[in-house]
C-alpha cells in the first residue's frame, strides 16, 4: 500500500553576499485524486490516499475532488462499522516537551466532524493536520480519517486526556481516556512552546568560538521547516567581516528539534580568521511565508493566504588568537592547518642546460588556496625560474582540504650529481597548538654534459630558444620623435582614404555623361539648348560692335531657330515660322509671345537677306530682346 505524503521541503540554496531564494518549490500537499494518481500495491490493490496538513488550523474541508473522483470511479463506500481510537506516541513526557496524539476514525469518510477537545488544565493542544485515506479492495471502499495533535504538558504530574467526542455519519463516538505523566526534567527551550512549536525557524551554530588566525571555524546555518510554504524563502548569509569564507557542501534531511519533526535545509561554511581580534559572525536572515488556508473558502486548496516570518540567527562572537611567537620556525609563511608535503621531478637524468620541472605538493586540511610557495633550496649549480601554482580543493561537510601544487623550472648548469635538498614547509597545527615543519625527501639528479660539452654556453632559458647567453648591446642611433597615436587608430588617416574614392566617383560621373552623349545626342542638345543659344547671341554681340548688322541678325535668327529645333529635337533647316507658331500655340503660348517670336524671326530674316532694310534699332537692344524671348520660350519649347 502506498500513501501519498506531504512533499519533502526544499533544500536551502543561496548566493553569497546577497539575499537569495530557496530555489525549489515549497513543500506542498499533493492530492492524488485523479485516476492517474492511483497507485497499486504489491498485491495489485488500488489504493487512493489523500493527505492533508493544516498547520495551525483545526477544521479542514475534505478534499472533495478526490472523494468525488473516487466515488465516481469505484462506486459507493462499503458499509463498514465505524470505530474511533485515540493514541499518543508516548505516555511519559517532559514539561514543555511536545508529544503527538492521533485520533483515527475508521469506517467513515464523509461527514466526520473534527474531534471536540475539551479544555484540560496542564495540557495544551495544537492541531497538526487531518488526513483521509481511502482503500479499495475488490471494489469495496473503506475510508479512515486521521486527526493529529501536538500536545504539550505545561505542568508536571499525571494528566488524563479524557474521551474525545467525534460525530460520524450522524452518530457520536468517543475515544478512551489516555493517561500521560509529565516530568519537570524534560523541559523544552523554544519560546512559545506552550502554543506549539514554530512552523519555521533558523539556527546558526559555530563549531568553535576561540581559534587561531587561519584556523577553521565551522559554521552551520539550519533552516527548520514543518509547514507548507507559500513561496520560496529568501536567504541572506551572515556577515563574515574579518574572515575568509569557503562554502562547504550543504544537505537536506528530515530531522527533529526539541522532539518535533522538521525538514531541515543545512548550509555549511568554513571561516578562517584573517587577523587577531574579536570578530562577530553576523545574523543569517531567512524570510519565509507560510501558507495558511481559509477554512471558509471552498477553493482554499488553490488560493492560500500566507504569513511571513523574518527569522534571524543570533550573532556569534569569535575570539581569533594570534599565532604564538614561541617556536615559530624560520621560513614560516603563515600556513595554518595540518599538512603533508611531497616533492618530485619530471626526470632524474638530464643534460646540462636542460630544464627539469620540480613539483612541490602541500596536501591537508586548512585554507589550502592561500598557501604560499615554499622557500626553495639554493642550488648553486643550477638556475631556478618562476613558480606557478594550482589548487585542487576537496571540501567535506565540515572541513576544507585539498592540495596546492607549486611548480618551478630548474636548469642544471654543470654535469655531475645535483642534489635537490629536502624542502621544508613549516605550518602551525591549531589542534596540537604547535608549529610543525614538514619536509620532503632530497632528490638526486644525474646531470650529463650538454651537447656543447659544457653547459655554460647554453642560454639561461629553455634550450633552443637562444644561442647567446646575454642580451645584445644598447643602440646609439638617435631616432626619438614625439609619441603619436598608432596610424591605424588615427581618424584623420582614414579620412584621407576618401580622396581616391572621390577620384573614382568623378571618373564614374564623367563616364556616365560620356555614355549619355553617345546614346542620346538629341537629348543632350535639348538639355543645353538655351545655353547654346545664349552663346550664339554673345558671339553675335561681337559682330554688332564691328557694324556687321546682317551677320548680327543672321546670328539672332540662328540662335532662335536652333534653340527651338534643339528643344523639339527636329532639324533646324526644316523649321519654318508657321510650324514654330503652330507648335507654340499647341503648348499654350499666348498671342503676345507669338507676336514677339514672329517679329524677331521676320526682322532677322529680312535683314540677313536685305541688310539695307535694317532698322535703326540698337544692336544691343536687338540682342537683349532676343535673349529675353529665348528665356520666355523655354517653358513652351
Amino acid at each position: 500500500m502506498s500513501v501519498v505524503q506531504a512533499a519533502e521541503p526544499n533544500p536551502l540554496h543561496h548566493r553569497r553576499g546577497e539575499g537569495a531564494e530557496f530555489p525549489e518549490s515549497p513543500p506542498c500537499i499533493r492530492h492524488s485524486a485523479s485516476p492517474s494518481a492511483i497507485s497499486h500495491s504489491a498485491f495489485g490493490i488500488p489504493h487512493l490516499a489523500v493527505t492533508e496538513a493544516r498547520p495551525g488550523g483545526s477544521r479542514a474541508l475534505p478534499t472533495a475532488a478526490a472523494l468525488l473522483a473516487s466515488l465516481f470511479l469505484f462506486g459507493a463506500p462499503g458499509r463498514a462499522e465505524v470505530t474511533v481510537q485515540a493514541t499518543v506516541d508516548r505516555n511519559v513526557v517532559g514539561v514543555n516537551d511536545p508529544f503527538v496524539m492521533t485520533v483515527v476514525v475508521s469506517g467513515a469518510g464523509m461527514g466526520v466532524s473534527d474531534p471536540r477537545i475539551p479544555e484540560i488544565t496542564g495540557l495544551g493542544f495544537a492541531a497538526a493536520g487531518r488526513s483521509q485515506n481511502v482503500s479499495i479492495v475488490n471494489g469495496s471502499m473503506t475510508q479512515s480519517v486521521v486527526f493529529t495533535y501536538q500536545v504539550t504538558a505545561t505542568t508536571p504530574g499525571r494528566h488524563v486526556i479524557p474521551s474525545v467526542a467525534i460525530t460520524a455519519g450522524g452518530k457520536t463516538y468517543a475515544t478512551d481516556p489516555i493517561q500521560v505523566t509529565a516530568s519537570a526534567g524534560g523541559a523544552g527551550t523554544t519560546a512559545g512552546a506552550a502554543a506549539g512549536p514554530p512552523p519555521v525557524k533558523v539556527v546558526a551554530e559555530a563549531g568553535k568560538r576561540r581559534v587561531y588566525v587561519g584556523e577553521q571555524v565551522p559554521l552551520v546555518v539550519r533552516f527548520f521547516n514543518r509547514a507548507q510554504l507559500a513561496s520560496q524563502p529568501s536567504y541572506s548569509p551572515p556577515d563574515t567581516a574579518g574572515f575568509l569564507v569557503e562554502d562547504l557542501p550543504g544537505r537536506n534531511y528530515q530531522g527533529s528539534s526539541q522532539g518535533v519533526a522538521y525538514a531541515v535545509a543545512e548550509l555549511r561554511y568554513a571561516l578562517f580568521g584573517t587577523s587577531p581580534g574579536n570578530p562577530v559572525i553576523g545574523p543569517a536572515v531567512v524570510q519565509a511565508t507560510v501558507a495558511e488556508r481559509d477554512a471558509a473558502d471552498p477553493f482554499g486548496m488553490f488560493f492560500r493566504r500566507g504569513r511571513t516570518f523574518t527569522l534571524k540567527t543570533d550573532p556569534i562572537p569569535v575570539v581569533v588568537l594570534p599565532l604564538p611567537d614561541s617556536g615559530k620556525p624560520a621560513g614560516f609563511r603563515g600556513a595554518v592547518g595540518s599538512f603533508t608535503v611531497r616533492s618530485s621531478v619530471d626526470r632524474t637524468s638530464v643534460e646540462a642546460g636542460t630544464p627539469v620541472t620540480l613539483t612541490f605538493e602541500v596536501t591537508g586540511r586548512g585554507l589550502v588556496r592561500s598557501l604560499k610557495e615554499p622557500e626553495w633550496p639554493a642550488l648553486p649549480s643550477a638556475r631556478r625560474y618562476e613558480t606557478v601554482s594550482d589548487v585542487n580543493m576537496k571540501k567535506t561537510a565540515d572541513a576544507v582540504a585539498g592540495t596546492k601544487t607549486f611548480r618551478t623550472v630548474i636548469v642544471p648548469q654543470a654535469p655531475g650529481k645535483l642534489a635537490i635538498p629536502g624542502i621544508s614547509y613549516p605550518f602551525f597545527d591549531p589542534e596540537a597548538r604547535r608549529y610543525v615543519a614538514a619536509k620532503t625527501a632530497a632528490i638526486m639528479l644525474d646531470v650529463k654534459p650538454g651537447k656543447g660539452g659544457t653547459s655554460t654556453a647554453q642560454a639561461p632559458g629553455l634550450p633552443g630558444k637562444a644561442t647567446e647567453s646575454d642580451i645584445r648591446f644598447i643602440k646609439s642611433r638617435y631616432d626619438l620623435a614625439p609619441v603619436a597615436e598608432p596610424l591605424p587608430l588615427r581618424p584623420r588617416f582614414w579620412a584621407l582614404q576618401a580622396l581616391p574614392a572621390l577620384f573614382l566617383l568623378a571618373g564614374l560621373a564623367v563616364s556616365f555623361r560620356r555614355r549619355v552623349l553617345l546614346t542620346d545626342p538629341a537629348g543632350v542638345r535639348a538639355a543645353g539648348a538655351r545655353r547654346t543659344a545664349m552663346k550664339r547671341l554673345k558671339t553675335a554681340g561681337a559682330l554688332a560692335k564691328t557694324g556687321k548688322t546682317a551677320e548680327l541678325h543672321a546670328a539672332v535668327h540662328e540662335a532662335l531657330t536652333r534653340f527651338l529645333a534643339d528643344r523639339w529635337r527636329v532639324s533646324p533647316s526644316g523649321l519654318t515660322l508657321n510650324a514654330a507658331e503652330g507648335r507654340l500655340r499647341e503648348k499654350g503660348a499666348d498671342e503676345e509671345l507669338l507676336n514677339r517670336v514672329r517679329e524677331t524671326w521676320e526682322q532677322a530674316d529680312l535683314v540677313r537677306y536685305a541688310p539695307m532694310a535694317a532698322s535703326a534699332r540698337d544692336p544691343g537692344e536687338v540682342l537683349s530682346t532676343a535673349g529675353r524671348l529665348i528665356a520666355d520660350l523655354e517653358k513652351f519649347a
Binding site: 575568509l244 584573517t274 585554507l367 588556496r369 592561500s370 610557495e373 625560474y385 618562476e386 613558480t387 606557478v388 601554482s389 594550482d390 589548487v391 611548480r407 618551478t408 623550472v409 642560454a459 639561461p460 632559458g461 629553455l462 630558444k465 637562444a466 647567446e468 646575454d470 642580451i471 645584445r472 648591446f473 644598447i474 643602440k475 646609439s476 642611433r477 638617435y478 631616432d479 626619438l480 620623435a481 614625439p482 609619441v483 598608432p486 596610424l487 591605424p488 587608430l489 588617416f493 584621407l496 582614404q497 580622396l499 581616391p500 574614392a501 577620384f503 573614382l504 566617383l505 568623378a506 571618373g507 564614374l508 564623367v510 563616364s511 560620356r514
Partner: protein, 248 residues
C-alpha cells in the same frame, strides 16, 4: 571602465621607473640620450634608465629608446619591465634583429611560456607600415578604376595587377583590422615577481594562482588600486595590484 583604464595607463606611465637621475631643467633630448648611453656603458644602469625614462616621460619615443630602456631593466633584474619595453620597441621596429633577440631571451625565462606560432609572422610589419600599405593599395585600385572611367580606356594589361592588388588589399586589410583590434584592447605585462592573482579587488579575496613576471596579460578592469587581468591562452582571470602590471 575606459576612464579607469586611462587613469591607470597614465599613472603607469608616470610611475614607470626609478627617479634617481632627474634633470632639473629640460636639456637637449639628443644630449640626454647620448649621456644615458654613456652611463649604461659605464655600468650605471639605474642612472641610464632614469635618463631614458625621463625622455619618454617628456613625450618622446623611438625604437632605440624603448630598446635601451628594456636593456637597462634587464640588467637591473626586472624581466617583466624588460619584456614590456622590448615589446614596445618591436612595435616600432618589427624587423630589428637585436630587439627580437633580446625579447626572445627575456621571454625564455618565463616558465611554460608559449608564443603563438603566428606571432612571428604577425609582427613582421608594424601597424603603421600595414596602414601605409593598405592606403597605397586602396589608392592604386581606386585611382586605376577612376582613371579608367575618366578616360574611357579599357584597363587591358593592367587587369592581372589590379586583381592581385585587390586580393592583397583584402588580406592586408583583414590583417590590419586584427592589429588595430589588438591596439585598441589594453594589454600589458606582469612586472611584479610572481604576482598573486586574487578573485576580487582586495587582499581579503583568496589568491587563486600566481602569474610570473613578464607574462602578457589583458587589462580588463580597474578598481581601487587593483586591476583585473586575463591571461591569454590559459583562460585565467583575476585581480592583481595596480603596480604589478604595466600597459604596453
Amino acid at each position: 571602465m575606459s576612464a579607469l583604464l586611462l587613469a591607470f595607463i597614465l599613472s603607469s606611465a608616470a610611475n614607470a621607473g626609478p627617479v634617481s637621475l632627474k634633470p632639473t631643467a629640460p636639456s637637449n633630448p639628443k644630449d640626454e640620450f647620448v649621456r644615458a648611453n654613456s652611463a649604461y656603458e659605464a655600468g650605471k644602469f639605474a642612472d641610464a634608465l632614469a635618463a631614458w625614462e625621463g625622455l619618454y616621460a617628456r613625450g618622446l619615443s623611438g625604437a632605440s629608446l624603448c630598446y635601451n630602456i628594456g636593456c637597462a631593466h634587464y640588467r637591473l633584474g626586472r624581466r617583466g619591465h624588460a619584456i614590456l619595453w622590448f615589446e614596445r620597441a618591436r612595435s616600432l621596429a618589427p624587423r630589428d634583429e637585436d630587439i627580437r633577440f633580446n625579447l626572445s631571451l627575456a621571454r625564455s625565462h618565463l616558465p611554460d611560456e608559449t608564443v603563438p606560432p603566428w606571432e612571428t609572422f604577425d609582427r613582421v610589419l608594424s601597424p603603421g607600415e600595414l596602414s601605409v600599405l593598405v592606403a597605397i593599395l586602396l589608392a592604386f585600385l581606386l585611382g586605376a578604376a577612376g582613371f579608367g572611367a575618366l578616360t574611357g580606356r579599357d584597363s587591358g594589361k593592367l587587369k592581372p595587377w589590379l586583381a592581385g592588388a585587390a586580393v592583397a588589399l583584402v588580406v592586408l586589410g583583414a590583417w590590419l583590422a586584427l592589429r588595430a583590434r589588438d591596439l585598441a584592447s589594453p594589454q600589458g605585462f606582469v612586472v611584479a615577481a610572481a604576482a598573486e592573482v586574487r578573485s576580487g579587488p582586495g587582499e581579503e579575496y583568496t589568491a587563486g594562482f600566481t602569474v610570473p613576471e613578464g607574462r602578457r596579460a589583458l587589462l580588463l578592469n580597474s578598481r581601487n588600486g587593483w586591476v583585473e587581468i586575463g591571461v591569454p591562452g590559459q583562460g585565467l582571470k583575476g585581480w592583481v595590484r595596480e603596480e604589478a602590471v604595466r600597459k604596453i
